[in-house]
Amino acid sequence: MQDPFPLANIIDNFNGRVSVAANVTDMPCVIVNPQDLVELCLFLRDNEMFKFNFMADIGGVDFYPNLPRYQLVYHLYSISLGWRLRIKCPLDEPPTAPTITHLWTTANWHEREAYDMFGIVFEGHPDLRRIYMWQEFEGWPMRRDFPLRGYKDKYNPFGAERPGEGKSPIGDIL
């Protein structure tokens, strides 16, 4: 049987700067502000008690129209101890967060994806460019206010009208 996860240890070490997320049942989950994110990740990675050496996933979430609008969600895994942990990092407008590419190389593409899809800027990222969309693309596709069919242009005649150009967007119907 696995030992219970020492969540209190993280809270104590960060002295009020890290809080436990309520209503999350599938794995331990902590909330941290962007300015403490790197310190927390470094602590979790190098502390003998946790050994969270595997950064599984980084994803952005857009809670439009709720505030704070954006959130970064990190999923960590400890290969030796078998624990999973979720870190949530709420972001205000304009969304900026520190990069963690110097801690895990894998964060590079994950952060580029979050930038591409949500427009979240990662400060200190070595190569922050769009990864899926082409470089000239305008807008942030995964944001909640981006229409499903995209905006109308010469390549996309069925897209939604841009806001302020009359007509309700078709994309909202579907």
Partner: protein, 405 residues
């Protein structure tokens, strides 16, 4: 390979060397789809690799937000199109965790059975494709022949060769058809004898070994920092398999070995997959032996269609449930979940946030190929020549549809 641009004239006095920028792909067969690489070359030596992905980007995550939970199954099929049952399984587990239900035991066996069959199918392709990329075409013909048997089994089970969409939330769509188990056992018997052929064909071939051995070595620490998972990580000596370490479905009842190799070069990644097929075969045999008759779909009319279709003709209530389920789908309680499964390519994760409606609020897919492909950019691996890059792509086994989501 087109578009050769000279980017840097050497200031050597002889003026003989110069660096060029070269495109590899996106239509080149060795890039496994539509991967475009921008290579900075000094003669035959690769200085820098810049992958350009996204040519197959379909916005799966955005589409998920506008689909009901059941409608998303076909979308997950189209992630890693060699191993659809694994993708279905990963997604179904995530939704089931949100709903706090579990599929009936028989359904779990069928899911695992199909996932392992598809793992063999996916590994077979790369077993043949890596030698093909480095010049030994014959192997691919043999692996494709054997893959055809799995395709036939998939067709027999689900009616579709590739995009099976066989999972449902709370079980699977149908029971195994009559005579299927015998066909699966027949397949196991045939495949067991053929599995050694691939190694005989290329495993000891000097040319093949020269191309893949000690090429693209990734150390264990590097592999973890790069987020590699699955066979790519185990080839580097990290002993981690989600099927064993955090068993889902009925994997805890199966007896299998986790293949771990030490060097982490292209050969090890290839060999790891070849050996894993033997383990998968063992698991399939155990599944077939342990499987008991029983329900294959959860008996909750709000989540799953009734198994007994006659019920719809007689019961008003069943008809209402059926209509509501077909027209609207089912509501999933508020919450969030991240489930990870051991897909053939690595850790396949689904992070789903539900806002209590019939459609997910956010679906984040942790696609293993996407993460694994990033290892190409890592310059600590010993990929020196252009030919090594081809071997490296082949051994990382990216499926571009999954990379681009």
């Amino acid at each position: 390979m087109t578009d050769v641009n000279i980017i840097h004239e050497s200031n050597n006095e002889d003026g003989l060397s110069r660096e060029v920028l070269m495109n590899l792909g996106p239509q080149h067969p060795s890039t496994h789809g539509v991967l475009r690489l921008l290579l900075q070359m000094d003669g035959e030596i690769v200085k820098r690799i810049e992958p350009h992905i996204g040519l197959l980007h379909r916005g799966t995550e955005k589409l998920c937000e506008s689909f009901t939970y059941t409608q998303i199954f076909p979308l997950t099929d189209r992630l890693d199109y060699l191993c659809q049952p694994s993708n279905n399984l990963g997604y179904a587990l995530a939704v089931e965790a949100l709903l706090d239900i579990k599929a009936p035991e028989r359904a779990q066996y069928i899911r695992v059975l199909m996932a392992e069959l598809s793992r063999i199918s996916g590994h077979l392709l790369i077993t043949g494709a890596l030698p093909m990329d480095v010049g030994a075409i014959t192997t691919l013909l043999y692996t494709m022949r054997d893959r055809e048997m799995i395709m036939d089994l998939m067709e027999m089970i689900s009616g579709a060769r590739m995009h099976t969409s066989f999972c449902r939330v709370g079980g699977v769509r149908e029971d195994l058809p009559e005579g299927c188990v015998e066909r699966i056992i027949e397949f196991c018997d045939i495949f067991e004898q053929r599995i050694t052929d691939y190694e005989d064909l290329v495993g000891n071939n000097r040319v093949f070994l020269a191309r893949v051995e000690n090429v693209g070595n990734i150390t264990g620490e590097d592999a973890i920092a790069l987020g590699l998972s699955g066979p790519c990580l185990r080839a580097s000596g990290v002993d981690w398999d989600i099927r064993r370490d955090a068993p889902y479905e009925i994997y805890d009842r199966l007896d299998f070995n986790v293949i771990v190799r030490a060097d982490g070069d292209c050969y090890d990644r290839w060999k790891c997959r070849v050996d894993e097929m033997v383990e998968s075969l063992k698991m399939i045999r155990q599944c077939v032996a342990q499987m008991q008759p029983g329900p294959f779909l959860i008996a909750d009319p709000k989540i799953a269609f009734p198994v007994n279709k006659d019920l719809l003709a007689h019961s008003m209530e069943a008809q209402i449930h059926h209509f509501k389920l077909a027209a609207e789908g089912f509501k999933v309680p508020k919450g969030e979940v991240y489930t990870a499964i051991e897909a053939p390519k690595g850790e396949l994760g689904f992070y789903i946030i539900s806002d209590g409606t019939e459609k997910p609020f956010r679906v984040k897919i942790r696609a293993p190929s996407f993460v694994n492909l990033q290892a190409l950019t890592d310059r600590t691996t010993n990929m020196k020549y252009l030919a090594d890059v081809i071997a490296m792509i082949g051994s990382l086994d990216p499926v571009m549809k999954e990379v681009d989501k």
